[in-house]
Homo-oligomer: 333 residues x 2
């Protein structure tokens, strides 16, 4: 690969001049610029961005850490982020944290060691204190889907409690009073918040919480299947099931059918996230919209404005979810 030095020699100028036409920050005579450009083209020169990073201490790349690379949720998030940065000429380095503390920390260290100019983190297992300490360092970062008071200005999050509230409120307004709940892993903040919203709605309607109708799932289809089976096995009557995300709702729908139940005639089901496939389940899933793609865009804009002084856009930090009513929920007679 040709270096800047060879280009300089071919163009009959110095290294510095070549560097200048590349970054065009310093005036260069038109004639010289043309010569250099020609030499670059001829040699098929491509700047070595590693060397650029080392010299300039700016890599034009942003590190992203998510829990998983697959799944409808993270996929939409990554796409939102990548689209925004590509348009700005920045690039993206991605690592997976797998919801494990050590893996998440490793990932962050790796991203920092790659000279990322900023980090976008969707971390679940790492402690608040760790992140507060991380904020002392000199790599700026935003937190996605997590709220920490001490770091409020770098958090972009959804009001999960409200979402949980809306889901259950919808059922209560439809006349349901015996409502089962399939939660996410309760060590995860968003799982707890969504459940808290569920409880608030129940209280507001003076409806007692039946802990026999509670199941802690894993945010995956299998969790929804197991949850529904467990709830049915408990013999407690229920007319609706709230699932803490759409994957579990999908699993619950499938298992309900296998067991001979009809949704929503026998019981209603509501999900959370409004991922792509929620429109294609049978019946179409009533769910809570999580504007994850928009939030990815927003995180990227935060970086663009705070770190690169680009982007004039206002950064919205807390997003409000809303209910999408489809066919899996039903008025109770």
């Amino acid at each position: 690969m040709a270096t800047i030095y060879e280009v300089a020699k071919a163009a009959g100028v110095s290294l510095a001049t070549v560097s200048r036409v590349m970054n065009n920050n310093t005036p260069v005579r038109q004639a010289t610029r043309t010569k250099v450009l020609a030499a670059m083209a001829e040699l098929g020169y491509r700047p070595n961005s590693i060397a650029q990073s080392l010299a300039s201490n700016c890599s034009n790349s942003i590190g992203i850490l998510v829990s998983e690379l697959h799944g409808p949720f993270y996929g939409a998030m990554l796409t939102g982020i990548e689209a925004e940065f590509r348009a700005a000429g920045k690039h993206v380095i991605i690592a997976a944290g797998h919801s494990e503390r050590e893996t998440e920390q490793d990932g962050i260290e790796f991203l920092k060691s790659r000279n990322c100019d900023a980090l976008i983190l969707h971390v679940e297992a790492v402690s608040d204190d760790y992140l507060i300490e991380l904020a002392q360092g000199d790599t700026p970062f935003v937190l996605l889907n997590r709220h920490i008071d001490a770091l409020a200005d770098r958090c972009i999050s959804l009001n999960n409690e409200l979402g949980g509230y809306l889901a259950t409120q919808h059922l209560l307004e439809q006349g349901h009073r015996q409502i089962a709940y399939i939660a996410g892993p309760m060590w995860k903040t968003d799982a707890r918040e969504r459940y808290a919203g569920h409880q608030r709605a129940l209280q507001e309607f003076h409806c007692a919480l039946n802990t026999g109708l509670f199941f802690e799932g894993d945010f995956r289809e299998t969790g929804g299947s197991e949850g529904l089976q467990s709830i049915i096995a408990s013999k407690q009557p229920f007319t609706a099931v709230v699932c803490a995300n759409d994957e579990m709702a999908s699993g619950a729908l499938t298992t309900a059918r296998e067991l001979g139940y009809r949704v929503p005639e026998d019981f209603s089901v509501v999900g959370f996230d409004n991922v792509n496939f929620a429109y294609y389940t049978y019946p179409k899933l009533t769910t809570i919209d999580y504007p994850i793609s928009a939030m990815g865009h927003m995180a990227a804009r935060w970086v663009l404005s705070q770190v690169y002084q680009q982007a004039d856009t206002e950064v919205q930090q807390v997003f409000e979810p809303y209910l999408i009513s489809r066919d899996s929920t039903h008025l109770i007679i």
Copy 2:
């Protein structure tokens, strides 16, 4: 951030020695090693991997280019790749090509300029010639889901033609003779190959191809919906629909239901890929298994063995798909 130089000073040794204990490739006296390690710990030293890359011309990072970051297909692929590399201590830089020639080429250039030791490419829009030329360069790469004769040894692909054949053969064996086909974008190789397999099965069963029952979709849910509507509008009788992937099959199932058709009683539907949600559609989707995660693993192993001389595993280059029969297809009476 502490540098190797400060560590050296703190430990009372030279740079070179510090470097040696880090890479432990040259013998270092135990006492010295301990001193250096202590100094590193005390200063919270983290090597700057950008500088390491520049000096060693090896970044321990692999560039991945996929068409999209979302969707069940790419997600599974990325996860397979990332898992393999993480276990080997390598890291991954990901870019999206969006199935557009220019974006794909940009992505490749970016990845090369980041000093990636190797590339894993899932490219659809760039030409064979471009890739053959790229192979002259000094960044090794594997091609995923693409076969080019001149680059056969760096291709890891699925026998798409066979998959297309199996899908249609299954229907023919069930007695279907009027079979509609919703294809992917026909400029994509895998879409064409799958369709070719469909045609071969038809021929083998002496069943005429009815081009009125053909629709070119977009590999997304909407394509399946539009395809089914178009086929129904054509007024041609049919008893089965082959969809070139599961997303389109899912769209077709939903639209069928909306229009009052029952699957598989009124007509059968078969998909392709066996993505995660194919088990959770209603009815459960008969489909062709695409071992995409395994192929991601394999691509990673190719890199590990060819580029890093690690991994003793045999590299399997062509994968064979097989049929997974579920509830969306039906014997014809």
